[in-house]
Symmetry: C2
Subunit: 350 residues, 2 copies
């Protein structure tokens, strides 16, 4: 099945409404920046790389019909729109990376008309999409070398087609390994509270013909104890310069369990997930989300008592010493540290 997570069509960002999966595969045509902000906030579109692309188009949606002719005023509008979109989700750096690219694209148009700048912004957003497409293919190519025949992999949240433009990061590694003829199985952690593993990953992997078994997050340790997991592969939402990496809540837990059970723990992400502004994991802002995500089962029936206190961090940070390797679009970084990551970012900016 061909899944189109995000595309630009008829002056609209067309996304799959991921809150309706797996029950319904419904595409939404988003034509204004406010609706896009809402879609990002409500996880209709989600996944670090996809958020970067959505944000880039969001900037364009926010300024394309602006009735300004003064380039400086237009540039201010681009910046304001970027700040606004950045407020939808704080943790994934790709979102800010996408916004920064758009701002820089606008800034690069010194001396040009507003119409020219608008055209330039649309090109930049399309470039973000194309680069994500190729980054994921490269992550898959490098990562697939790590997969052996007979492996049993475990993943968390959804770092697949639905989190990117296509192919995915952690799941892209699996798709490539499958294309290369390797046989393996996958356990998908359901990923509470919003169940991206149950709703999205198990659906996506099945749709691509990958053998997937769904478990609750608290069952992973038991599988490792039984020797039934060969490797864990997760995505990453933001990676600090020292290699500490934020990802969906529960990822850090898996990394500790991997260390205890001597199971390799990999994180797959494009270079745009590395944040040169952040030196260590403690500086990464972790989004705390609404209590109702935990107390009400997937936005519907209440399962905890009224008035109960809730702690609902959407992400956690895995320290670099628990990460066997990063799988990036520029290659694999084993035992990640600041020096290796600096090198990666320098190579990338050349």
């Amino acid at each position: 099945m061909n899944i189109r997570t995000l595309e630009w069509k008829n002056n609209a960002v067309v996304i799959i409404d991921q809150t309706l999966l797996p029950g319904k595969l419904k595409y939404r045509h988003i034509k204004d920046v406010k609706t896009l902000w809402q879609a990002s906030k409500e996880l209709k579109v989600r996944g670090a790389p996809a958020l970067g692309a959505a944000a880039a188009f969001g900037v364009y949606l926010g300024v394309k019909d602006a009735q300004v002719t003064d380039p400086r005023k237009f540039l201010r509008l681009v910046k304001d729109t970027s700040v606004y979109l950045g407020s939808s989700r704080p943790t994934a750096v790709n979102l800010f990376w996408g916004l920064t690219r758009m701002r820089r694209a606008a800034e690069s148009c010194a001396g040009e008309t507003v119409d020219f700048m608008k055209e330039r912004l649309l090109q930049e957003a399309c470039a973000v999409v194309e680069e994500d497409r190729s980054a994921c293919r490269n992550i898959g190519k490098f990562g697939a070398k790590l997969i052996r025949d007979g492996d049993v992999l475990l993943t968390v949240c959804n770092a697949g087609i639905l989190a990117t433009i296509d192919y995915g990061t952690a799941l892209g590694v699996m798709y490539r390994a499958k294309e290369e003829g390797r046989r393996f199985k996958v356990y998908a952690c359901e990923t509470r509270p919003l169940l991206q593993g149950a709703r999205l990953t198990s659906w996506e992997l099945s749709s691509q013909g990958v053998d997937v078994t769904l478990i609750c997050d608290n069952m992973a340790a038991s599988l490792m104890r039984q020797g039934r997991i060969s490797k864990v592969i997760a995505g990453a939402d933001r990676i600090a310069l020292n290699g500490d990496a934020a990802n969906k809540i529960g990822t850090y837990s898996l990394a500790v369990l991997c260390r205890y059970h001597q199971v390799p723990f990999y994180m797959a992400a494009p270079v745009s997930s590395f944040d040169p502004q952040i030196t260590g994991g403690r500086q990464i802002p972790v989004e705390e989300r609404a209590a109702t995500e935990i107390t009400d089962m997937f936005f519907k029936r209440r399962i905890a008592p009224l008035g109960v206190k809730v702690y609902n961090p959407a992400f956690d940070v895995t320290p670099h010493e628990l990460i066997t390797a990063f799988i990036t679009d520029k290659g694999i970084i084993r035992e990640p540290n600041r020096q290796k990551i600096n090198q990666l970012l320098m190579d990338d900016s050349r």
Copy 2:
């Protein structure tokens, strides 16, 4: 609030239907063994100690109206009823312990009439209830000494009033510490798939005035990393002679996380949770339950795709080396091993 988990009243076992909590507090009057089997299977009544008491009354319900006068035929009926009730849940040893007590009580009536045996069985079931009551009070008394002012405790599933006759095991320790004037907070893991932590523990602790915050199971590691957890206290469904202990799925995961973060990990259980027939954790049968518990959110709305494969173990086994201490009704057993547990069981059988 006074919660009555299980009592014998007007020839019926009266239980709270725990599948309806926290939305409804509804008592069910169970008058026949088949309904009791169903209630056990469907977790209307649950928790290792409460299952022991329910099973004991279940035997009585199953034989009290039997139209047999031959004591040997009656004894056979007692045994058959025990086997039947044992098939409802395989992991918690207290259930089998309750059944064994009933069988032995019947066997001890050599030379007596069937009517006498029936009376004896009712007395035995009532004794099981009273002993559980006093065992939990003792667990609380011993365990409360471990709680310090300002502690932040974490627990999993429900090892409270709702899992016993009253007071609870792991939560009984907290109730006693509160009675003794200690101030502390509790994080409750929601405990997927059936959410006993969200539905039962957060409700029960709130109802008893304990400060409780609900988290998803995959958030515990992150709290430990932040140094926000002083101790973990869980219940236990079956403890092997070497100290390996089965409890609700996810408990083992917490034990590993405790070891990594140097947080003490306690399990609270009555002596009836120790199984003298089982030398190590690998021999403990782990119940696997229906896939729909994971794919359908609390028996209602589907959240995973149709046809997805599911692994749903209801319990896991924590090896003794990860258990800081058992808190039992006979005292605290630190660094549990076979010798210490043998001693406990010998002292108990005196």
